[in-house]
Amino acid sequence: MRTFSKDAAAAAVELEQLAMDYWRDIDFNDARKLHDFYTEDCSFAAGENTYRGRDGIKAFYDIARAAKVGMTTRHVMSNLHVVVHDNDRATLAFIIMSFRGAGKLPITGLQGPALVSDGRMECRRAADGTWRIASFGGTPVFMGNDPVLEKMAKAQAG
């Protein structure tokens, strides 16, 4: 079983809350500051597509933003597993369940999540002492009928 020193526990809280801030920027701010969460040389893999650098993150979320106009989405995170390798490197693994719908709140007819994905972030501490994401990987495990994902797939292919 794992143990945490006081400093490692504080780092783990920082990393956990980095992940919370990250998904809140997506759900509550249309991912407009999401590139700030990444290192300059980052990689971002969603399904079979990989984007590189902060400009790559902006490009992916420009596509996502256009695809989900008028929709309410919540990416809820569970099973967050934090491994603090040392003072400057850490790995996060988690599950994301995406709920999505259109219309006035509360949106009725909820059936279940549109998507259940495994997620992984490799993190590095930056020169200012804060954590950044060096690589992100998302792997869909269960997929419902999600018009937003269909629009995004078409935009990425086109």
Binding site: A10, E14, R74, S78, L110, G112, W131
Partner: protein, 157 residues
């Protein structure tokens, strides 16, 4: 990006576990001691007709919840995406999402159960004189509602 000292990390951990304790009280003790989680002058606002003030208000709300509960009804409020903001040693805010499951019958209830509701929650907390956390304000915003959602029943008549 945010940083935490060992002290603010400890306060953050306390607040996150406070949220876990709160929903265990709701799911495993029918919220019979729920007023203890609130400040005397608290505000609870969870949608149309669901607005209560003070500990006495919280007792009234959960008396109402228990009064409309059907027999052999099981509820689990799963807590996800817990975002904690420690303002100082005595005040903090937790934002999170509740995905609620409701089923009827004897456990284990058979068949796939879809969530009955997805709700954004924000609680503003402060430390009391005993040094423990209390909820000063509770705000719930229902986002998605499915079968079994009790939103209409929970509003005041």
């Amino acid at each position: 990006m945010r940083t935490f000292t060992p002290e603010t990390a400890t306060a953050g951990f306390e607040l996150l576990q406070f949220v876990e304790d709160y929903w265990r009280e709701v799911d495993f003790n029918d919220a019979r001691n729920i007023a203890d989680y609130f400040a005397e002058d608290c505000l609870y606002d969870s949608g149309p007709g669901i607005r209560y003030q003070g500990r006495e208000g919280m007792r009234k709300f959960y008396d109402h919840v228990r009064s409309i509960a059907q027999p052999e009804r099981y509820v689990r409020h799963t807590i996800l995406s817990k975002h904690v903001d420690v303002k100082d040693k005595d005040t903090g805010t937790v934002n999170y999402c509740i995905v609620t499951y409701i089923g009827f019958g004897k456990t284990p209830i058979q068949g796939v159960i879809n969530p009955s509701q997805v709700t954004d929650v924000r609680i503003a907390c402060r430390r009391n004189q005993a040094g423990t956390w209390e909820i000063a304000e509770f705000h719930g915003t229902p986002l998605f509602a499915g079968g079994g959602s009790q939103l209409k029943d929970l509003g005041k008549k």
